[in-house]
Symmetry: C2
Subunit: 326 residues, 2 copies
Amino acid sequence: MSNQLDQLRQQFLAYLAAHPFRKSPIGLYEPVDYIMQLGGKRMRPILALLAYQLFKKDVDAALPVAMAVEVFHNFSLVHDDIMDAADLRRGKPTVHAKYDTNTAILSGDVMLIKSYQYLAQIGDPHIQAKLIQVFNQVAIEVCEGQQYDVDFENRSDVRIDEYLKMIEYKTAALLAGSLSMGAIAAGADEAAVAHLDRFGRKVGIAFQIQDDLLDSFGDPAKFGKKVGGDICQNKKTILILQALKDGNANEQAQLNQLLSTPTTNEQQKITAVKSLLEHLHIPTKVKTLRDQYLAEALQELETLEVEAAQKAPLFAIANQLVDRVI
Amino acid sequence: MSNQLDQLRQQFLAYLAAHPFRKSPIGLYEPVDYIMQLGGKRMRPILALLAYQLFKKDVDAALPVAMAVEVFHNFSLVHDDIMDAADLRRGKPTVHAKYDTNTAILSGDVMLIKSYQYLAQIGDPHIQAKLIQVFNQVAIEVCEGQQYDVDFENRSDVRIDEYLKMIEYKTAALLAGSLSMGAIAAGADEAAVAHLDRFGRKVGIAFQIQDDLLDSFGDPAKFGKKVGGDICQNKKTILILQALKDGNANEQAQLNQLLSTPTTNEQQKITAVKSLLEHLHIPTKVKTLRDQYLAEALQELETLEVEAAQKAPLFAIANQLVDRVI
């Protein structure tokens, strides 16, 4: 199973290596190669190739689609990192930190255009038009999700359904789009594309809920980042939103107080917030929500009319994504 | 003649008014409506509609293409204004000045995507694929032109051919693209599209050369901005590049000296630079270059196999653009 994923990852990486962006003006394109080579799991191109393989075997033909979603994903990282004033990504300087903000804006812009140029390599004009339509929708959702995320920072009344929509747009839409575009490239019918889209959205939401859970309750030995980072940054994760919903007036006030004052003693703050969350059984409730999304995702995959053996890698990737094995 | 242009402008403005961007999240889309309604001559959509009309009469069908090029143009203004730290455009605050830089980045991004979404409204998939291909190429050239412009600020050895390529990419490519995409939408053949593309590029270059001329030698009563602005900002316009090429060592040193020291007395500096340029006959030489580009542009239009009466508005617009009547 993981052999198949590794093989697709290698295939994508070979294609990426064979298609460097580097050309004149170098100030525009060098940052593109820099961010594209910074690594990552290459989850979106792998999903696009896996979805293509459900319907057709010449997976090479889907490499431009895989490239388009990976270039788009990296474009969104470059611009988001400016907005979040994030100086590090995967342990390396972000584009605006390594070069400057103007470079990060313009190199990001050209990446967004390049992602369309890769899609335009799909020769069949009917398929290309379908791909562009889905891609436009996904790209707009990613921007809207980022805006909602920014808006929520300054709101104290974010509802859980609003939060779920935000993470669907910001994260899940592109995972879903990678799958549905892979399927469209292979000529899959509308019903199959719709199943894969819903599968991707639900897995993506489960993945993001798990991200919130791990950040506060993950095993420090296994979790890559510092456990409690979201709490220190006063982030309104789904854990916090659920606690603000479930707690009594006193508990709500306590939590708001903890998250609105500057952090002086980090460990003390993390411990206080976590014990309040546990007192309200938030981890259990949020795990239940995560598992509901994962179950609904797997149900979409069950219903997809493709031979079971063919679907096995997608079942595996869904479970791995949410468990964060990969 | 100008009646026809006014009519197309009104038609476009009515379409724009009927298609507001405003929706949730409002923080993302309000800035889009703001910049789209800031005015301007709407030259690019008019060119797209005029080119469509050369071949087909149902000009309404080309309105999404006209919208795509105008949204793209405004996207490039929003991001360029951040990079240039420009606080005013058409006498109003720029998007990043009115809102903030993060908003200008993200609203610009969604505009770039929206321009593709408008192109995707062209139903014929063969025509849509051709439009996307041209648009990708033009959009990439606009980014590359902006990068060359930035690079040239820090170089003292910019050649005139490099400068001409920069203005072709940054300005002329989108004027040409508006024309060729209008023609493609009407099903024009490749030869006609190529003539319109070259016409647009050459007119665009002549237009930009005229822009440099007017900024230093325009009639203060007619020129909208302050005459001498480029000189005060030490901009390497084509006038300066030509003077650095033609002047002797002493004149080159004098000009470099004038343009590398901070401006203390603006009027004195403007007068000194202009008299040096006139001494070297730069205005005459640059006017000759401008007229060559305009003549070559008009020749492309002559060769275009369309009834002469049909082409009259394009001849008129070319002369007006370079004369800056419009």
